[in-house]
Symmetry: C2
Subunit: 284 residues, 2 copies
């Protein structure tokens, strides 16, 4: 836990002199870590042992150890904390907040994703002879994105954001069909039913969804991530970002699994796109 926060939180538990120390440190932590215990004591107008006791109270071995801890939390420089947008934020403020919340969400997704599940999902995808991506609402964009990525791999892919089409597609599913479902909550009734239908038709079902959700239970493999829910009105829907990155991960795993010959192919696809573009001025 962040040392600065810790000090702030313990502020009430400190004695009078200890609080003086805390205030001096909080006022300029960067300065504090460069001070000796003597200078800091003088600045706070307390004795040296008081400073030492203050350090111990924060579960450090002593003053030097405390400085180390403090230095570490300073360096952390707010590593993307999710902050909510306020009604009278400036454009600058809400832009920064949304980007930061998005990064925080990705970080949390990264922490919680299970690499072995990724591996199994890649297994299933590489063995598929047909892949379908299904997403409703906000997740439909993710499904589109996934289609676009896997399309380049030159395997039959399809993508639906319409429940009827999904159901029809499920009925035509075979053993080699892999269906990937995107749903943040994993509680969308229609999608859960689609998953069941797909399985009844012997398709393999991968779901990018919430842990322990109805959808997660209904599929062959659940690839789950913890993404802080957007309790906010100003709905940045971080979950679909995490899903898209997860799609990148799967696509990457796919290309890695397919080996170097396959990657050569991809390079050619990329180059084929160049013709449709204006030349980029070389140099500059």
């Amino acid at each position: 836990m962040n040392t600065i926060d810790k000090i702030q939180k313990s502020l009430a538990n400190f004695s009078k002199s200890e609080r003086k120390v805390a205030e001096v440190i909080l006022a300029d932590p960067q300065l504090a870590i460069q001070c000796s215990i003597a200078t800091l004591a003088k600045m706070a107008d307390v004795s040296e042992p008081t400073v030492n006791r203050f350090c111990r109270r924060l579960d450090t071995k002593g003053f030097p150890d405390f400085k180390l801890h403090l230095a570490q939390s300073l360096a952390n420089g707010t590593p993307y904390v999710s902050r909510h947008v306020e009604a009278n934020d400036s454009a600058e403020a809400y832009t920064a907040k949304i980007f930061e919340s998005s990064m925080a969400a990705l970080d949390s997704a990264k922490q919680s994703i299970d690499a072995s599940a990724v591996n199994r999902a890649v297994d299933m995808l590489t063995q598929a002879d047909q892949i379908s991506f299904f997403g409703l609402g906000a997740s439909s964009a993710v499904a589109h994105d996934a289609q676009n990525k896997f399309f380049r791999f030159n395997i039959p892919v399809s993508c639906f954001d319409d429940v009827l089409m999904m159901r029809m597609s499920c009925i035509n599913a075979r053993e080699g069909t892999v269906i990937v479902l995107f749903s943040h909550t994993g509680r969308t009734k229609a999608l859960v039913e689609v998953a069941r239908l797909a399985r009844e038709n012997h398709a393999q079902v991968i779901a990018l969804t919430a842990k322990d959700s109805p959808l997660a239970r209904e599929c062959t493999l659940a690839l789950t991530m913890d993404v802080p829910e957007d309790t906010d009105l100003y709905m940045p829907m971080a979950s679909r970002l995490a899903q898209m990155v997860a799609v990148d991960v799967l696509a990457t795993g796919f290309t890695l699994r397919r080996g170097p010959r396959f990657r050569e192919n991809l390079k050619r696809v990329k180059e084929a796109l160049k013709e449709s573009r204006f030349e980029k001025p070389q140099g500059l």
Copy 2:
């Protein structure tokens, strides 16, 4: 600059004994910052002053100061550096790398986005009586996502990922029409032409694209972001993530501009979705 990197870089300039110190520190930096100069000297099998000289060579005041610097760079815990996927990375490795690269890309986008351009874009969007989102290829998913978001605002929105449809839509454009184009490179010929056509038909054109690109020049307002290009084969296409976050930013700006009455409405839309979901078990 990161102290660890600094050590690694200076490795060549060190003397034999200094290098021994460097190696011990690099082997376990976390341990090193807890050691006294004596223990560290013993571990590296050198004398104490050698350790001290080593610290000085890295522009620190001495051993304690060096530890502080080291602690800070450790805390930074690789603050999202873009690292490329290697052919024999494990699932764990490439998953982490892709998430980190994505976060790094968002960070760079955040740094480079122009808040005043955001503000003007929001201006245009709030005054629009019709909004269209256009994207081709990888950006089509972004356009879909944008449609999904703005659709909730109860204004006429459309979305196309097909050039012919885009052109038709442009021809029907009026003064109050705002067209938002998504293109990472800003060099896709078809899209640049669409932008021109739209402007000829008096539509307002906003482009989320690269700075100084043909597309940026052809539109009313260019909302540009620097996103590290994916020179990589394993194409995580970070740009579309940045674009999606930018869409969040615009949507947020939109709701803020529309005021509290409007936000009440949004809440109702969100609640309307609940019926289509399975109940979430309260508590747990």
